[in-house]
């Protein structure tokens, strides 16, 4: 069965004055209808760039997609605006952004900005589009929708604007909604409301959500599947339970350590991950996380780790998962028997190499 949306081996580069930045280095994932995939990572890990590349939002130049594919129901649409007469962006896939305050046109009425999508993709008449825009505003629970539709973004609060963004993104009933840190710029109580809203709409329409975030609490609450990104690669991909209870990558462990939890008492010390992400002008030869990893080994310096499969839904890109790696690391999940943990890509393994 083909996934609703699948991205394979995506590579994105940026040509800058300082040289070429390899922002995304071989990212693959897929998502099914009704599912929520969370992409987690710190700033600069390439999570936003990945989704912007899929949506064709990367300015080219300086950006460049060097490899990879993005398929909707099995058909590659990467670098194309339309497929089978339907536009991908705004129609099949909707997207909302981090900062709703600056993501709406300041000189255009809210209603017009929503109606615009319907006019362009669905050939609505201006009157129908306006009526539908008001319905959408009601859907995202904006009070006094008819009056609010005629207002401008500066008359709205941040949370309200994010609702407007959602209304705009789901106007054409997309199959996938990409939410790029939708709650980062909002305060905590509003965050919860926005997340609830997204879940409600998902339940109603059965759309898939790809949630980009750096907040593990949001992941725990929303996601079915999680992909952890670091330095332009997915270092661990898992279901949400596997990720939290069977973490298989030192970076994931580090993230968890840095996150407060309900069980932790007031004496619990949050431990930040030391150091900073590598310079993507010249990615390190071996594992990108090596310099910050407390368990780094000789091989980590010289070879980029293979992706090891722990279960059907769980992979980790770490040499610690290698069957011949002798150490046990506290908190790090490993496959039950040595035999199960085998690399997804077979080349780096001795048994295959000549």
């Amino acid at each position: 069965m083909t996934a609703l949306l699948s991205v394979e081996n995506l590579h994105v580069e940026f040509a800058t004055y300082g040289g070429i930045v390899k922002a995304v280095r071989g990212v693959s994932f897929d998502v099914e209808a009704g599912q929520t995939l969370a992409i987690v990572g710190e700033s600069g890990s390439g999570k936003s760039v990945t989704m912007q590349a899929v949506m064709g939002l990367i300015p080219m130049p300086p950006g460049r997609i060097t490899q990879g594919s993005a398929k909707l129901r099995g058909q590659d649409f990467l670098g194309r605006l339309e497929m089978d007469g339907r536009t991908i962006c705004g129609d099949e896939i909707g997207m909302i952004f981090q900062d709703p305050m600056s993501s709406l046109n300041p000189t255009m009425r809210i209603g017009d900005q929503i109606a615009e999508t319907l006019k362009v993709h669905r050939d609505y008449s201006p009157k129908e589009a306006w009526k539908r825009a008001i319905e959408l505003l009601e859907l995202v629970k904006i009070p006094e929708a008819p009056k609010r539709a005629a207002q401008y973004p500066f008359e709205f609060s941040g949370g309200m604007l994010q609702r407007v963004m959602i209304a705009m993104a789901v106007a054409c009933k997309p199959a996938v909604l990409i939410a790029d840190e939708p709650t980062t710029a909002l305060d905590v109580t509003i965050q919860a409301q926005i997340l609830d809203l997204l879940q409600d709409i998902q339940k109603e329409t059965g759309m898939a959500i790809i949630l980009i975030t750096h907040d593990l609490a949001v992941v725990a609450r929303m996601a079915d599947k999680v992909a952890v990104m670091y330095a332009g690669q997915i270092v661990e991909a898992a279901t949400v339970n596997e990720l939290f209870y069977e973490s298989a990558h030192p970076y994931t462990l580090g993230l968890k350590q840095a996150m407060p939890s309900a069980e932790s008492d007031e004496n619990h010390v949050l431990e930040p991950i030391p150091g900073s992400p590598p310079d993507l002008f010249s990615p390190p030869q071996g594992c990108a996380y090596c310099a910050r990893c407390p368990w780094h080994m000789q091989v980590c310096q010289t070879d980029d780790p293979a992706s090891f499969r722990l279960s059907d839904t769980h992979t980790s890109r770490c040499w610690l998962q290698h069957p011949r790696q002798p150490r046990e690391v506290e908190g790090l999940h490993r496959a039950e028997s040595q035999g199960v943990s085998k690399p997804v890509s077979d080349t780096a393994d001795q048994e295959v190499s000549p």
């Binding site: 310099a291 310096q301 070879d303 980029d304 040499w319 290698h322 011949r324 080349t347």
Partner: protein
């Protein structure tokens, strides 16, 4: 096989899984620590256009201040033999004998004759001798001279003289002759002295001559050198030609540069300083004083600028012998300080609210310290940029006012007044307009580009999106 990790294949050994230990495996990112101004200077140096404009400005200053030491020609000196000379024009002159009056109306010996209106001797800048045959039914004639070929009998040029004496069929022209082509015409006059349509014309190519005495007096030849008639001497050199009064263009451009740059640099400096003090006081005092001070500034800003500049010049009334530079300076300062004042006040108000100022206050910093350590360094960049952009606009204003005759009074040279004078002879001697206009343009261009570069270098927030 796969593309994974550049296709590196190797057999992993047990030693590969040895822990690395605590040593850091990547070199720390070390960046040299640089101050704001060092950083700005590095950014400016990387900006090619800004750097070129910086060299241009330095070049202009050299031209203005060092130039007159090298090119020691009086900008007010008139070279009457070379008026409105284009750069690179022929400046040779032949030594001729001293002028002697022409009394007999005879053709000079060895000079080819002819018929009709003709020359009686080699035409020189000392004199042109014309001779013609008597025309039927006329005894009075009028002689005309024209600078252009005669096409229309109605347009013969300047009338030089009426010849009314009997049996005189010759005329000697000594009126302000230049080394160029002239077109003479002799018209028959009727009994009433009215010109008829009967006339003859001749084209005369006047050669430049100078007497030996004069050549010596002007120092065109060395003291010991002998001069004979027919020798060639070189007239004074004007690399950029001369203007309509025979003044050296290069020397005048240098003199004009002094005036234009004096106004262009000093006026902005003065009003920016006044604006900074005023704006900073308003911003720092705040409250009622700030409001009153800013109302007043708003008010001056609302005045139509050039109109009031003109009015100022009228009111000051440039008397004889005055250059009009000081009134213009005062007018510029009086009208332009509020823009800087507003800008600086805005900056100060903004900085006052910054967290680092609050932090400094919490740590017990004095007013004095706040102003010295936070306010001034953080507004200096903006002020510097304002100053750079103020220079071209002051130069423009000077040029504009001088151009409409409301600026620097003649004979003081400024680029604007030179343009004004050059405009009159634009069609025949374009160099008189082109050079001062080019100087204005280059200066304004250089300061504009420098301003852009400074803005980009000093403040990333003010960075123009170019």
């Amino acid at each position: 096989m796969s593309q994974y990790n550049d296709g590196v294949h190797r057999t992993l050994r047990d030693s590969d899984f040895e822990p690395l230990g605590e040593q850091s495996t990547t070199p720390l990112l070390v960046r040299p620590s640089r101050s704001y101004w060092q950083d700005a200077w590095i950014r400016l140096k990387a900006n090619r256009r800004a750097l070129v404009s910086l060299y241009l400005v330095i070049g202009l200053l050299l031209f203005t201040f060092i130039g007159p030491m090298i090119w020691r020609v009086d900008p007010a000196l008139q070279d009457v033999d070379q008026i409105s000379i284009a750069p690179g024009a022929d400046r040779s002159a032949l030594v001729a004998e001293a002028y002697e009056p022409w009394v007999n109306g005879q053709v000079e010996p060895d000079f080819a004759g002819g018929s009709g209106l003709r020359l009686a001797a080699e035409p020189t800048t000392l004199r042109v001798r014309l001779l013609w045959d008597p025309m039927p039914g006329a005894d009075n004639y009028r002689v005309y001279r024209n600078n252009y070929p005669i096409e229309d009998p109605q347009a013969l040029g300047i009338p030089l003289a009426d010849i009314t004496r009997d049996n005189v069929y010759w005329y000697e022209d000594r009126l302000d002759l230049r080394a160029r082509d002239y077109y003479y015409a002799v018209v028959v006059l009727d009994e009433l002295g009215q010109p008829t349509d009967q006339f003859e014309t001749v084209e005369v190519n006047v050669g430049r001559v100078i007497t030996a005495v004069e050549a010596r007096n002007r120092g065109l030849v060395g003291a010991g050198e002998s001069l004979a008639v027919g020798d060639e001497v070189m007239m004074p050199w004007h690399p950029l030609g001369t203007d309509y009064l025979g003044r050296d263009m290069l020397a005048r451009l240098m003199a004009g540069a002094r005036v234009s740059l004096f106004i262009g640099l000093l006026a902005p400096l003065l009003y920016v300083v006044i604006g900074v003090v005023y704006g900073a006081s308003a911003g720092f005092l705040g409250g009622k004083a700030d409001q009153v001070m800013m109302r007043f500034a708003d008010f001056v800003v609302a005045l139509p600028f050039l109109l009031f500049m003109i009015l100022f010049q009228v009111v000051f009334g440039i008397g004889p012998g005055e250059s009009g530079i000081v009134p213009m300076l005062i007018a510029l300062v009086v009208l332009l300080w509020p823009a800087t004042a507003r800008l600086v006040r805005g900056q100060i108000l903004q900085i006052r609210e910054e967290a680092y100022v609050s932090a400094a206050k919490l740590l017990g910093a004095s007013h004095h310290y706040l102003i010295l350590r936070h306010m001034i360094p953080n507004t200096l960049g903006v002020i510097l940029v304002t100053l750079t952009f103020a220079v071209p606009s002051a130069i423009f204003t000077e040029a504009f006012l001088s151009f409409i005759g409301m600026g620097v009074a003649p004979p003081t040279a400024s680029w604007g007044s030179m343009c004004n004078e050059g405009l009159k002879n634009m069609l025949t001697h374009p160099h008189e307009l082109v050079f001062p206009a080019a100087m204005i343009s280059i200066t304004v261009l250089a300061f504009n580009l420098l301003g852009d570069g400074l803005r980009d270098a000093l403040d990333a927030k003010m960075r123009s999106a170019e």
